[in-house]
Protein backbone atom coordinates (compact mmCIF):
# COMPACT_ATOMS: atom_id res chain seq x y z
CA UNK A 1 0.00 0.00 0.00
CA UNK A 2 1.33 3.37 -0.94
CA UNK A 3 2.04 5.67 1.90
CA UNK A 4 1.62 8.75 -0.22
CA UNK A 5 -1.12 8.52 -2.81
CA UNK A 6 -0.63 9.91 -6.30
CA UNK A 7 -2.56 13.03 -5.26
CA UNK A 8 0.01 13.67 -2.60
CA UNK A 9 -2.08 12.75 0.41
CA UNK A 10 -1.32 10.25 3.11
CA UNK A 11 -3.56 7.48 4.32
CA UNK A 12 -5.33 9.63 6.86
CA UNK A 13 -5.79 12.50 4.45
CA UNK A 14 -2.89 14.68 5.56
CA UNK A 15 -0.34 16.29 3.31
CA UNK A 16 3.26 15.25 3.89
CA UNK A 17 4.00 18.34 5.95
CA UNK A 18 0.91 18.32 8.08
CA UNK A 19 0.89 17.48 11.77
CA UNK A 20 -1.68 15.25 13.39
CA UNK A 21 -4.32 16.84 15.56
CA UNK A 22 -3.03 17.68 19.01
CA UNK A 23 -5.37 17.66 21.97
CA UNK A 24 -4.05 18.23 25.42
CA UNK A 25 -5.13 18.98 28.91
CA UNK A 26 -3.24 20.30 31.90
CA UNK A 27 -3.95 19.52 35.48
CA UNK A 28 -5.66 16.14 35.46
CA UNK A 29 -4.68 14.92 38.90
CA UNK A 30 -4.22 16.67 42.23
CA UNK A 31 -1.63 14.57 43.90
CA UNK A 32 1.32 15.19 41.55
CA UNK A 33 2.65 18.72 41.51
CA UNK A 34 2.01 18.87 37.81
CA UNK A 35 0.13 16.62 35.44
CA UNK A 36 -0.78 16.74 31.78
CA UNK A 37 -2.22 14.58 29.05
CA UNK A 38 -1.57 14.87 25.36
CA UNK A 39 -2.97 13.17 22.28
CA UNK A 40 -1.08 13.48 19.02
CA UNK A 41 -3.32 11.61 16.64
CA UNK A 42 -3.56 8.15 18.19
CA UNK A 43 -0.54 8.45 20.42
CA UNK A 44 -1.77 9.14 23.93
CA UNK A 45 0.58 9.99 26.76
CA UNK A 46 0.06 10.95 30.37
CA UNK A 47 2.77 12.81 32.31
CA UNK A 48 3.13 13.64 35.99
CA UNK A 49 5.75 15.75 37.70
CA UNK A 50 6.67 15.43 41.35
CA UNK A 51 8.97 18.12 42.54
CA UNK A 52 10.98 20.02 43.32
CA UNK A 53 11.24 17.96 46.45
CA UNK A 54 13.82 16.41 48.68
CA UNK A 55 16.23 13.94 47.08
CA UNK A 56 15.52 10.41 48.06
CA UNK A 57 19.07 9.11 47.99
CA UNK A 58 21.70 11.40 49.43
CA UNK A 59 24.51 10.20 47.23
CA UNK A 60 22.70 11.46 44.17
CA UNK A 61 22.24 14.88 45.61
CA UNK A 62 23.88 17.75 43.82
CA UNK A 63 24.20 20.87 45.88
CA UNK A 64 24.60 23.25 42.94
CA UNK A 65 21.55 22.31 41.00
CA UNK A 66 18.64 19.95 41.01
CA UNK A 67 18.62 16.33 39.95
CA UNK A 68 16.20 15.36 37.22
CA UNK A 69 14.94 11.84 36.82
CA UNK A 70 12.48 10.46 34.39
CA UNK A 71 10.70 7.16 34.17
CA UNK A 72 8.65 6.11 31.22
CA UNK A 73 6.39 3.11 31.14
CA UNK A 74 3.86 1.67 28.76
CA UNK A 75 0.58 -0.01 29.50
CA UNK A 76 0.12 -3.51 28.24
CA UNK A 77 -2.38 -2.59 25.56
CA UNK A 78 -0.51 0.34 24.11
CA UNK A 79 0.29 -1.29 20.81
CA UNK A 80 -1.09 -4.00 18.60
CA UNK A 81 0.63 -6.79 20.49
CA UNK A 82 0.44 -7.01 24.21
CA UNK A 83 3.50 -5.60 25.93
CA UNK A 84 4.74 -8.05 28.50
CA UNK A 85 6.80 -5.76 30.64
CA UNK A 86 5.88 -2.18 31.33
CA UNK A 87 9.50 -1.09 31.66
CA UNK A 88 12.18 -2.67 29.56
CA UNK A 89 15.46 -1.51 28.14
CA UNK A 90 13.77 0.44 25.37
CA UNK A 91 11.75 2.49 27.80
CA UNK A 92 14.83 2.93 29.98
CA UNK A 93 16.76 4.34 27.05
CA UNK A 94 13.91 6.70 26.22
CA UNK A 95 13.63 7.76 29.86
CA UNK A 96 17.29 8.74 29.82
CA UNK A 97 16.81 10.77 26.71
CA UNK A 98 13.83 12.61 28.14
CA UNK A 99 15.74 13.33 31.34
CA UNK A 100 18.58 14.69 29.21
CA UNK A 101 16.20 16.95 27.33
CA UNK A 102 14.96 18.53 30.50
CA UNK A 103 18.43 18.86 31.94
CA UNK A 104 18.95 21.44 29.27
CA UNK A 105 15.58 23.10 29.59
CA UNK A 106 14.95 23.42 33.31
CA UNK A 107 16.70 26.23 35.15
CA UNK A 108 18.45 23.83 37.46
CA UNK A 109 20.36 26.42 39.44
CA UNK A 110 17.09 27.61 40.91
CA UNK A 111 16.50 24.36 42.81
CA UNK A 112 19.78 23.32 44.34
CA UNK A 113 19.84 20.14 46.33
CA UNK A 114 16.39 19.00 45.24
CA UNK A 115 14.94 16.48 42.84
CA UNK A 116 12.40 16.74 40.08
CA UNK A 117 10.77 13.50 38.96
CA UNK A 118 8.98 13.17 35.66
CA UNK A 119 6.80 10.12 35.18
CA UNK A 120 5.44 9.40 31.75
CA UNK A 121 2.82 6.79 30.98
CA UNK A 122 2.20 5.80 27.40
CA UNK A 123 -1.42 4.75 26.97
CA UNK A 124 -1.40 4.21 23.26
CA UNK A 125 1.41 4.42 20.78
CA UNK A 126 1.09 5.11 17.10
CA UNK A 127 4.36 6.67 16.06
CA UNK A 128 6.13 9.66 17.56
CA UNK A 129 6.13 8.32 21.11
CA UNK A 130 9.19 10.19 22.29
CA UNK A 131 7.82 13.45 20.91
CA UNK A 132 4.54 12.98 22.69
CA UNK A 133 6.37 12.16 25.93
CA UNK A 134 8.50 15.30 25.71
CA UNK A 135 5.51 17.49 24.90
CA UNK A 136 3.46 16.02 27.72
CA UNK A 137 6.34 16.48 30.15
CA UNK A 138 6.70 20.12 29.15
CA UNK A 139 3.03 20.72 29.87
CA UNK A 140 3.27 18.90 33.17
CA UNK A 141 6.29 20.97 34.18
CA UNK A 142 4.46 24.15 33.28
CA UNK A 143 1.51 23.01 35.36
CA UNK A 144 3.85 22.26 38.25
CA UNK A 145 5.34 25.72 38.03
CA UNK A 146 8.90 24.55 37.53
CA UNK A 147 11.04 27.25 35.96
CA UNK A 148 11.90 26.42 32.36
CA UNK A 149 14.21 28.30 30.05
CA UNK A 150 11.71 27.84 27.27
CA UNK A 151 9.03 25.43 26.15
CA UNK A 152 10.40 22.16 24.85
CA UNK A 153 8.54 20.90 21.84
CA UNK A 154 9.31 17.80 19.94
CA UNK A 155 8.33 16.37 16.61
CA UNK A 156 9.21 13.44 14.40
CA UNK A 157 9.88 13.42 10.70
CA UNK A 158 10.48 10.54 8.41
CA UNK A 159 11.37 10.00 4.80
CA UNK A 160 9.48 8.01 2.23
CA UNK A 161 10.91 7.68 -1.25
CA UNK A 162 12.48 11.11 -1.43
CA UNK A 163 9.59 12.91 0.22
CA UNK A 164 10.02 13.97 3.78
CA UNK A 165 6.91 13.39 5.85
CA UNK A 166 6.09 14.94 9.16
CA UNK A 167 4.72 13.16 12.20
CA UNK A 168 4.55 9.65 10.84
CA UNK A 169 2.29 7.01 12.31
CA UNK A 170 3.61 3.54 13.10
CA UNK A 171 2.71 2.20 9.72
CA UNK A 172 4.26 5.09 7.82
CA UNK A 173 7.38 5.08 9.94
CA UNK A 174 8.20 1.43 9.40
CA UNK A 175 9.40 2.04 5.90
CA UNK A 176 12.00 4.68 6.54
CA UNK A 177 14.01 6.37 9.18
CA UNK A 178 12.57 8.30 12.06
CA UNK A 179 14.22 11.51 13.16
CA UNK A 180 13.00 13.00 16.42
CA UNK A 181 13.96 16.57 17.19
CA UNK A 182 13.34 18.40 20.45
CA UNK A 183 13.61 22.14 20.27
CA UNK A 184 13.52 25.23 22.41
CA UNK A 185 11.24 27.13 20.01
CA UNK A 186 11.93 30.68 21.06
CA UNK A 187 15.66 30.23 21.12
CA UNK A 188 15.77 27.96 18.11
CA UNK A 189 18.26 25.58 19.65
CA UNK A 190 18.02 21.84 19.43
CA UNK A 191 18.01 20.02 22.71
CA UNK A 192 17.84 16.48 21.50
CA UNK A 193 18.23 14.67 18.24
CA UNK A 194 17.56 11.04 17.68
CA UNK A 195 17.70 9.21 14.41
CA UNK A 196 16.99 5.55 13.92
CA UNK A 197 17.31 3.58 10.71
CA UNK A 198 19.50 4.67 7.92
CA UNK A 199 19.06 8.00 6.25
CA UNK A 200 21.30 9.44 3.61
CA UNK A 201 23.15 12.62 4.49
CA UNK A 202 21.69 14.50 1.57
CA UNK A 203 18.20 13.83 2.79
CA UNK A 204 19.05 14.22 6.44
CA UNK A 205 19.11 17.97 6.42
CA UNK A 206 15.72 18.19 4.73
CA UNK A 207 14.22 15.81 7.25
CA UNK A 208 15.71 17.69 10.15
CA UNK A 209 14.43 21.01 8.81
CA UNK A 210 10.98 19.57 8.45
CA UNK A 211 11.05 18.23 11.99
CA UNK A 212 12.18 21.63 13.27
CA UNK A 213 9.33 23.34 11.45
CA UNK A 214 6.98 20.77 12.92
CA UNK A 215 8.26 21.61 16.40
CA UNK A 216 7.37 25.23 15.85
CA UNK A 217 3.86 24.22 14.86
CA UNK A 218 3.56 22.08 17.98
CA UNK A 219 4.72 25.04 20.01
CA UNK A 220 1.93 27.22 18.62
CA UNK A 221 -0.59 24.59 19.56
CA UNK A 222 0.74 24.03 23.07
CA UNK A 223 1.10 27.72 23.73
CA UNK A 224 -2.52 28.41 22.89
CA UNK A 225 -3.65 25.55 25.12
CA UNK A 226 -1.61 26.78 28.04
CA UNK A 227 -2.95 30.28 27.55
CA UNK A 228 -6.50 28.99 27.55
CA UNK A 229 -5.83 27.02 30.72
CA UNK A 230 -4.33 30.02 32.48
CA UNK A 231 -7.21 32.18 31.45
CA UNK A 232 -9.64 29.67 32.92
CA UNK A 233 -7.73 29.63 36.16
CA UNK A 234 -7.64 33.35 36.29
CA UNK A 235 -11.33 33.50 35.63
CA UNK A 236 -11.98 31.24 38.58
CA UNK A 237 -9.71 33.21 40.87
CA UNK A 238 -11.08 36.56 39.88
CA UNK A 239 -14.47 35.64 41.29
CA UNK A 240 -13.19 35.61 44.83
Amino acid sequence: MEIISPEGLRQDGRTPTCLRIIKCRLGLYDRPNGSAYIEMGNTKVLAAVYGPREVRSKNKQNLDECVIQCEMSRIAACGGERVRRARDKRTRALSHQIAGVFHAAIRKSKYPGSQIDIYVQVLQEDGGVMSACVNASTLALIHAGVELLDYVTSCTASINKQTAILDATNMEGQAGCEVTVSLLPNKGSIVSLDSSHTVHRDQFEAVMDLATAGCQQVYQELFSQVEAYLQDKHAIMSHR
Partner: protein, 412 residues
Protein backbone atom coordinates in the same frame (compact mmCIF):
# COMPACT_ATOMS: atom_id res chain seq x y z
CA UNK B 1 32.99 0.56 44.49
CA UNK B 2 32.15 4.18 44.18
CA UNK B 3 33.89 6.23 41.57
CA UNK B 4 36.58 8.52 42.98
CA UNK B 5 35.02 11.96 42.83
CA UNK B 6 36.58 14.47 40.53
CA UNK B 7 37.68 17.44 42.60
CA UNK B 8 36.37 20.85 41.74
CA UNK B 9 39.80 22.16 40.83
CA UNK B 10 40.37 19.29 38.41
CA UNK B 11 36.98 19.92 36.89
CA UNK B 12 37.55 23.65 36.55
CA UNK B 13 41.04 23.06 35.22
CA UNK B 14 39.72 20.80 32.49
CA UNK B 15 36.89 23.10 31.43
CA UNK B 16 39.13 26.15 31.52
CA UNK B 17 41.71 24.35 29.46
CA UNK B 18 39.09 23.49 26.88
CA UNK B 19 38.00 27.09 26.84
CA UNK B 20 41.58 28.13 26.14
CA UNK B 21 41.79 25.63 23.36
CA UNK B 22 43.74 22.85 25.03
CA UNK B 23 42.87 19.30 25.86
CA UNK B 24 44.40 17.56 28.81
CA UNK B 25 46.23 15.05 26.69
CA UNK B 26 47.63 17.52 24.13
CA UNK B 27 45.38 16.49 21.29
CA UNK B 28 43.57 18.86 19.00
CA UNK B 29 39.88 19.26 19.54
CA UNK B 30 39.06 17.07 16.60
CA UNK B 31 41.94 14.71 16.91
CA UNK B 32 41.40 11.11 17.78
CA UNK B 33 43.65 8.95 19.87
CA UNK B 34 45.93 6.30 18.45
CA UNK B 35 43.97 3.36 17.22
CA UNK B 36 45.26 -0.17 16.93
CA UNK B 37 43.24 -3.08 15.60
CA UNK B 38 44.56 -6.55 16.19
CA UNK B 39 43.10 -9.97 15.67
CA UNK B 40 43.25 -13.10 17.68
CA UNK B 41 43.91 -16.66 16.72
CA UNK B 42 40.34 -17.53 15.82
CA UNK B 43 38.37 -15.98 13.10
CA UNK B 44 36.15 -13.25 14.38
CA UNK B 45 38.10 -12.21 17.42
CA UNK B 46 39.26 -8.65 17.36
CA UNK B 47 40.70 -6.24 19.86
CA UNK B 48 40.67 -2.49 19.42
CA UNK B 49 42.87 -0.18 21.41
CA UNK B 50 41.79 3.45 21.26
CA UNK B 51 44.18 5.40 23.40
CA UNK B 52 43.85 3.56 26.67
CA UNK B 53 40.39 2.21 26.01
CA UNK B 54 40.54 -1.43 25.11
CA UNK B 55 37.69 -3.46 23.77
CA UNK B 56 37.52 -7.08 22.71
CA UNK B 57 34.89 -8.40 20.33
CA UNK B 58 34.23 -12.04 19.62
CA UNK B 59 31.89 -13.42 17.02
CA UNK B 60 30.39 -16.89 17.38
CA UNK B 61 27.88 -18.66 15.23
CA UNK B 62 25.19 -21.24 15.65
CA UNK B 63 22.58 -22.90 13.50
CA UNK B 64 19.07 -22.06 14.63
CA UNK B 65 15.53 -21.81 13.38
CA UNK B 66 14.74 -18.51 11.78
CA UNK B 67 12.23 -16.02 13.05
CA UNK B 68 8.73 -16.64 11.77
CA UNK B 69 8.39 -13.16 10.35
CA UNK B 70 11.67 -13.40 8.44
CA UNK B 71 12.14 -16.97 7.37
CA UNK B 72 15.05 -16.54 4.99
CA UNK B 73 17.25 -14.27 7.03
CA UNK B 74 19.92 -15.07 9.53
CA UNK B 75 20.01 -13.57 12.97
CA UNK B 76 22.48 -11.20 14.53
CA UNK B 77 22.66 -10.39 18.18
CA UNK B 78 25.00 -8.04 19.97
CA UNK B 79 25.79 -8.24 23.66
CA UNK B 80 27.89 -5.79 25.60
CA UNK B 81 29.67 -6.72 28.80
CA UNK B 82 30.83 -3.90 31.00
CA UNK B 83 32.20 -5.35 34.21
CA UNK B 84 34.44 -4.03 37.00
CA UNK B 85 37.38 -5.26 34.93
CA UNK B 86 36.94 -2.18 32.81
CA UNK B 87 36.69 0.30 35.63
CA UNK B 88 36.28 -0.22 39.37
CA UNK B 89 33.19 1.90 39.68
CA UNK B 90 31.11 -0.34 37.44
CA UNK B 91 28.65 -2.80 38.84
CA UNK B 92 29.56 -6.47 38.76
CA UNK B 93 27.31 -8.50 36.52
CA UNK B 94 28.05 -6.42 33.52
CA UNK B 95 24.47 -6.28 32.38
CA UNK B 96 22.46 -3.41 33.72
CA UNK B 97 23.32 0.21 34.10
CA UNK B 98 22.52 3.13 31.92
CA UNK B 99 25.89 3.12 30.23
CA UNK B 100 25.43 -0.41 28.97
CA UNK B 101 21.92 0.40 27.80
CA UNK B 102 23.08 3.41 25.84
CA UNK B 103 26.00 1.50 24.34
CA UNK B 104 23.78 -1.39 23.41
CA UNK B 105 21.26 0.90 21.78
CA UNK B 106 23.89 2.64 19.67
CA UNK B 107 25.49 -0.62 18.58
CA UNK B 108 22.19 -2.25 17.73
CA UNK B 109 21.09 0.70 15.68
CA UNK B 110 24.38 1.00 13.89
CA UNK B 111 24.98 -2.63 13.11
CA UNK B 112 21.71 -4.46 13.30
CA UNK B 113 19.15 -1.96 12.16
CA UNK B 114 21.30 -0.48 9.46
CA UNK B 115 21.38 -3.94 7.91
CA UNK B 116 24.98 -3.52 6.91
CA UNK B 117 25.53 -7.24 7.21
CA UNK B 118 23.82 -9.25 4.54
CA UNK B 119 21.61 -11.51 6.60
CA UNK B 120 20.21 -13.34 3.62
CA UNK B 121 23.61 -14.86 2.97
CA UNK B 122 23.33 -16.51 6.37
CA UNK B 123 20.37 -18.55 5.34
CA UNK B 124 20.87 -22.27 4.96
CA UNK B 125 17.38 -23.52 4.33
CA UNK B 126 14.52 -21.06 4.31
CA UNK B 127 12.12 -21.47 7.24
CA UNK B 128 14.22 -24.21 8.75
CA UNK B 129 17.75 -23.33 9.57
CA UNK B 130 19.82 -20.20 9.45
CA UNK B 131 23.02 -19.03 11.02
CA UNK B 132 22.82 -16.92 14.10
CA UNK B 133 25.81 -14.69 14.67
CA UNK B 134 26.43 -13.44 18.13
CA UNK B 135 28.85 -10.64 18.81
CA UNK B 136 30.08 -10.42 22.39
CA UNK B 137 31.82 -7.21 23.21
CA UNK B 138 33.81 -7.06 26.40
CA UNK B 139 35.30 -3.82 27.56
CA UNK B 140 38.74 -4.52 28.94
CA UNK B 141 39.64 -1.00 29.93
CA UNK B 142 37.38 2.01 30.12
CA UNK B 143 39.05 5.28 29.29
CA UNK B 144 36.22 6.99 27.56
CA UNK B 145 34.57 6.71 24.17
CA UNK B 146 33.36 3.15 24.44
CA UNK B 147 30.93 3.66 21.57
CA UNK B 148 33.58 4.21 18.95
CA UNK B 149 35.85 1.47 20.15
CA UNK B 150 33.07 -1.12 20.54
CA UNK B 151 31.65 -0.31 17.15
CA UNK B 152 35.02 -0.60 15.50
CA UNK B 153 35.74 -3.87 17.26
CA UNK B 154 32.35 -5.36 16.38
CA UNK B 155 32.60 -4.34 12.75
CA UNK B 156 36.17 -5.58 12.39
CA UNK B 157 35.29 -8.84 14.08
CA UNK B 158 32.31 -9.35 11.79
CA UNK B 159 34.40 -8.65 8.73
CA UNK B 160 37.12 -10.96 9.94
CA UNK B 161 34.75 -13.73 10.84
CA UNK B 162 34.52 -16.79 8.65
CA UNK B 163 31.67 -19.17 9.26
CA UNK B 164 32.01 -22.88 8.72
CA UNK B 165 30.75 -24.32 5.50
CA UNK B 166 27.60 -26.42 5.51
CA UNK B 167 26.37 -29.35 3.58
CA UNK B 168 22.64 -29.56 3.05
CA UNK B 169 21.27 -32.96 2.20
CA UNK B 170 18.07 -33.74 0.36
CA UNK B 171 16.08 -34.69 3.39
CA UNK B 172 16.91 -31.40 5.00
CA UNK B 173 19.64 -32.41 7.37
CA UNK B 174 22.37 -29.85 7.74
CA UNK B 175 25.94 -30.91 8.39
CA UNK B 176 28.44 -28.36 9.56
CA UNK B 177 31.81 -29.10 8.05
CA UNK B 178 34.99 -28.60 9.97
CA UNK B 179 37.73 -26.24 8.87
CA UNK B 180 39.89 -29.09 7.71
CA UNK B 181 37.27 -30.49 5.33
CA UNK B 182 36.24 -27.31 3.70
CA UNK B 183 37.47 -23.76 4.07
CA UNK B 184 35.26 -21.42 6.03
CA UNK B 185 33.18 -18.84 4.27
CA UNK B 186 33.64 -15.15 4.97
CA UNK B 187 30.72 -12.95 5.85
CA UNK B 188 29.60 -10.30 3.50
CA UNK B 189 29.30 -6.79 4.74
CA UNK B 190 27.92 -4.23 2.38
CA UNK B 191 28.74 -1.03 4.15
CA UNK B 192 31.03 -0.46 7.03
CA UNK B 193 29.25 1.36 9.85
CA UNK B 194 31.38 3.69 11.88
CA UNK B 195 30.60 5.43 15.11
CA UNK B 196 32.00 8.83 15.98
CA UNK B 197 31.47 10.39 19.38
CA UNK B 198 31.71 14.02 20.28
CA UNK B 199 31.76 15.46 23.75
CA UNK B 200 30.15 18.85 24.20
CA UNK B 201 31.70 21.05 26.80
CA UNK B 202 29.89 24.20 27.83
CA UNK B 203 32.11 26.39 29.96
CA UNK B 204 29.46 29.06 29.85
CA UNK B 205 25.78 29.21 28.99
CA UNK B 206 26.01 30.01 25.31
CA UNK B 207 29.40 28.76 24.29
CA UNK B 208 29.65 25.19 23.28
CA UNK B 209 32.88 23.48 22.37
CA UNK B 210 33.11 20.21 20.55
CA UNK B 211 35.70 17.59 21.39
CA UNK B 212 36.06 14.41 19.41
CA UNK B 213 36.89 11.09 20.99
CA UNK B 214 36.68 12.06 24.66
CA UNK B 215 38.71 10.30 27.32
CA UNK B 216 37.09 9.13 30.51
CA UNK B 217 37.97 12.23 32.46
CA UNK B 218 36.64 14.43 29.67
CA UNK B 219 33.43 12.42 29.69
CA UNK B 220 33.03 13.18 33.37
CA UNK B 221 33.43 16.86 32.76
CA UNK B 222 31.40 17.20 29.61
CA UNK B 223 27.90 18.60 29.59
CA UNK B 224 26.51 16.76 26.62
CA UNK B 225 27.38 14.11 24.09
CA UNK B 226 26.63 13.57 20.42
CA UNK B 227 27.09 10.10 18.97
CA UNK B 228 26.83 9.74 15.23
CA UNK B 229 26.73 6.40 13.50
CA UNK B 230 27.41 6.57 9.81
CA UNK B 231 29.09 4.88 6.92
CA UNK B 232 31.38 6.33 4.28
CA UNK B 233 28.72 5.88 1.59
CA UNK B 234 26.86 8.82 3.03
CA UNK B 235 24.25 7.13 5.15
CA UNK B 236 23.57 8.21 8.66
CA UNK B 237 22.65 5.05 10.52
CA UNK B 238 22.03 6.53 13.91
CA UNK B 239 22.28 9.86 15.60
CA UNK B 240 21.95 10.10 19.32
CA UNK B 241 22.05 13.45 20.95
CA UNK B 242 20.52 12.98 24.34
CA UNK B 243 20.24 16.56 25.38
CA UNK B 244 21.70 18.31 28.38
CA UNK B 245 22.94 20.99 26.03
CA UNK B 246 21.13 23.17 23.53
CA UNK B 247 22.82 23.20 20.15
CA UNK B 248 22.16 25.10 16.99
CA UNK B 249 21.48 23.25 13.81
CA UNK B 250 24.66 24.56 12.15
CA UNK B 251 26.83 23.06 14.85
CA UNK B 252 25.21 19.69 14.40
CA UNK B 253 25.65 19.80 10.63
CA UNK B 254 29.31 20.72 11.06
CA UNK B 255 29.83 17.82 13.40
CA UNK B 256 28.24 15.52 10.87
CA UNK B 257 30.48 16.79 8.11
CA UNK B 258 33.50 16.13 10.20
CA UNK B 259 32.14 12.77 11.18
CA UNK B 260 31.83 11.73 7.57
CA UNK B 261 35.43 12.60 6.90
CA UNK B 262 36.52 10.62 9.90
CA UNK B 263 34.29 7.73 8.90
CA UNK B 264 36.19 7.31 5.65
CA UNK B 265 39.45 7.10 7.52
CA UNK B 266 38.19 4.59 10.04
CA UNK B 267 36.54 2.42 7.42
CA UNK B 268 39.75 2.26 5.46
CA UNK B 269 41.70 1.47 8.59
CA UNK B 270 39.38 -1.39 9.46
CA UNK B 271 39.42 -2.74 5.94
CA UNK B 272 43.20 -2.59 5.80
CA UNK B 273 43.65 -4.26 9.14
CA UNK B 274 41.32 -7.12 8.23
CA UNK B 275 43.00 -7.68 4.89
CA UNK B 276 46.47 -7.59 6.40
CA UNK B 277 45.56 -10.12 9.00
CA UNK B 278 43.90 -12.43 6.52
CA UNK B 279 46.99 -12.30 4.35
CA UNK B 280 49.36 -13.12 7.19
CA UNK B 281 47.00 -15.89 8.23
CA UNK B 282 47.21 -17.38 4.78
CA UNK B 283 50.98 -17.52 4.90
CA UNK B 284 51.49 -18.72 8.45
CA UNK B 285 50.68 -22.17 9.68
CA UNK B 286 49.45 -21.10 13.05
CA UNK B 287 48.33 -17.53 13.58
CA UNK B 288 49.98 -15.83 16.49
CA UNK B 289 46.88 -14.15 17.79
CA UNK B 290 47.14 -11.64 20.56
CA UNK B 291 50.32 -13.08 21.95
CA UNK B 292 52.67 -10.46 20.58
CA UNK B 293 50.24 -7.61 20.69
CA UNK B 294 49.51 -7.33 24.38
CA UNK B 295 51.20 -4.24 25.67
CA UNK B 296 51.25 -2.86 29.18
CA UNK B 297 50.07 0.66 29.95
CA UNK B 298 53.59 1.92 30.70
CA UNK B 299 54.95 0.49 27.52
CA UNK B 300 52.05 1.95 25.60
CA UNK B 301 52.59 5.43 27.00
CA UNK B 302 56.28 5.30 26.23
CA UNK B 303 55.60 4.17 22.69
CA UNK B 304 53.07 6.90 22.28
CA UNK B 305 55.45 9.61 23.37
CA UNK B 306 58.22 8.52 21.08
CA UNK B 307 55.71 8.31 18.27
CA UNK B 308 54.35 11.76 19.07
CA UNK B 309 57.75 13.34 19.18
CA UNK B 310 58.74 11.75 15.95
CA UNK B 311 55.60 12.70 14.06
CA UNK B 312 54.95 16.13 15.44
CA UNK B 313 58.45 17.44 14.90
CA UNK B 314 58.98 16.07 11.49
CA UNK B 315 55.60 16.03 9.76
CA UNK B 316 54.80 18.17 6.82
CA UNK B 317 51.06 18.38 6.80
CA UNK B 318 49.84 18.81 3.28
CA UNK B 319 46.36 20.13 3.94
CA UNK B 320 45.87 23.80 3.32
CA UNK B 321 43.87 25.80 5.74
CA UNK B 322 40.85 27.82 4.94
CA UNK B 323 42.15 30.89 6.65
CA UNK B 324 38.74 32.00 7.68
CA UNK B 325 39.49 34.00 10.75
CA UNK B 326 42.88 35.54 11.27
CA UNK B 327 44.18 34.78 14.68
CA UNK B 328 46.46 36.79 16.85
CA UNK B 329 50.07 35.76 16.77
CA UNK B 330 51.73 35.07 20.04
CA UNK B 331 54.65 37.54 20.38
CA UNK B 332 56.94 35.41 22.51
CA UNK B 333 56.03 32.07 21.07
CA UNK B 334 58.05 32.33 17.82
CA UNK B 335 61.32 32.07 19.74
CA UNK B 336 60.45 28.61 20.95
CA UNK B 337 58.80 27.59 17.76
CA UNK B 338 61.40 28.68 15.24
CA UNK B 339 62.74 25.24 14.50
CA UNK B 340 59.24 23.89 14.30
CA UNK B 341 58.01 26.79 12.19
CA UNK B 342 60.24 25.94 9.30
CA UNK B 343 58.81 22.52 9.01
CA UNK B 344 55.14 23.29 9.28
CA UNK B 345 53.13 24.96 6.63
CA UNK B 346 49.99 25.75 8.51
CA UNK B 347 50.96 27.86 11.40
CA UNK B 348 47.85 28.26 13.35
CA UNK B 349 48.66 30.55 16.16
CA UNK B 350 48.47 29.58 19.71
CA UNK B 351 45.14 30.12 21.24
CA UNK B 352 44.52 33.60 22.39
CA UNK B 353 40.90 34.39 22.67
CA UNK B 354 41.16 37.32 24.91
CA UNK B 355 41.24 35.30 28.05
CA UNK B 356 44.97 35.05 28.31
CA UNK B 357 46.76 38.15 27.14
CA UNK B 358 50.37 38.01 28.09
CA UNK B 359 52.67 35.24 27.03
CA UNK B 360 53.59 34.64 30.65
CA UNK B 361 50.03 33.80 31.50
CA UNK B 362 49.85 31.48 28.57
CA UNK B 363 52.96 29.69 29.75
CA UNK B 364 51.49 29.46 33.19
CA UNK B 365 48.25 28.03 31.98
CA UNK B 366 50.16 25.45 30.06
CA UNK B 367 52.22 24.47 33.01
CA UNK B 368 49.12 24.15 35.10
CA UNK B 369 47.68 22.01 32.39
CA UNK B 370 50.77 19.90 32.60
CA UNK B 371 50.44 19.52 36.34
CA UNK B 372 46.81 18.71 36.08
CA UNK B 373 47.23 15.81 33.71
CA UNK B 374 48.24 12.65 35.46
CA UNK B 375 49.52 10.45 32.71
CA UNK B 376 52.83 12.05 31.84
CA UNK B 377 56.06 10.40 32.82
CA UNK B 378 58.92 12.66 31.78
CA UNK B 379 58.80 16.39 32.42
CA UNK B 380 61.39 17.26 29.78
CA UNK B 381 59.67 15.28 27.14
CA UNK B 382 56.48 17.01 28.16
CA UNK B 383 57.85 20.47 27.57
CA UNK B 384 59.27 19.55 24.21
CA UNK B 385 56.11 17.86 23.11
CA UNK B 386 54.08 20.72 24.46
CA UNK B 387 56.06 23.26 22.52
CA UNK B 388 55.77 21.43 19.28
CA UNK B 389 52.12 20.93 19.95
CA UNK B 390 51.71 24.66 20.46
CA UNK B 391 52.07 25.12 16.78
CA UNK B 392 49.13 22.93 16.07
CA UNK B 393 46.73 24.42 18.55
CA UNK B 394 43.52 25.76 17.23
CA UNK B 395 41.44 28.19 19.07
CA UNK B 396 37.86 27.33 18.67
CA UNK B 397 36.18 28.77 21.60
CA UNK B 398 33.90 30.84 19.45
CA UNK B 399 31.44 29.42 17.02
CA UNK B 400 32.74 31.46 14.10
CA UNK B 401 36.07 29.74 14.39
CA UNK B 402 34.45 26.38 13.87
CA UNK B 403 35.57 26.71 10.27
CA UNK B 404 39.24 26.33 11.08
CA UNK B 405 38.40 23.65 13.57
CA UNK B 406 37.28 21.32 10.88
CA UNK B 407 40.03 21.79 8.40
CA UNK B 408 43.21 21.13 10.30
CA UNK B 409 44.62 18.22 12.17
CA UNK B 410 41.94 15.71 11.81
CA UNK B 411 44.18 13.18 10.25
CA UNK B 412 45.39 10.55 12.57
Amino acid sequence: MKETPLSTCERTALTDMVECGLRHDRRGFLEARDTTISFGREYGSCSVILGETRVLAQVTCEVVEPRASRPSEGKLSIAVHLSPMAAPHLEPGGGGGSEVDALQQVLERNIKESRCLDLESLCIRAEESVWQLRVDITVLNHDGNLCDASNMAAVAALRHFHRPDVLVEEDGRVTVLSHATSPPVPTFMRKVPVCVSYALVCPQEDKCLVLMDPTHVEERVMTGKLVAGLNPHGDITSLVFPGRVALKKEQIMKCLEHAFRRAKIIAEMVQQAVEDDLQTRATEDRPSGFRDKLVSDEEYKRQRFTHLMATKVLTLPTESTEAAVPMEEEPSAPEEQDPANETTTNVTATSTNGLVDTPDDLEESRTTAVIASVTKTCKNKKKKVKKTKDVKMESDSEEEQQQTLLTSQDLQ
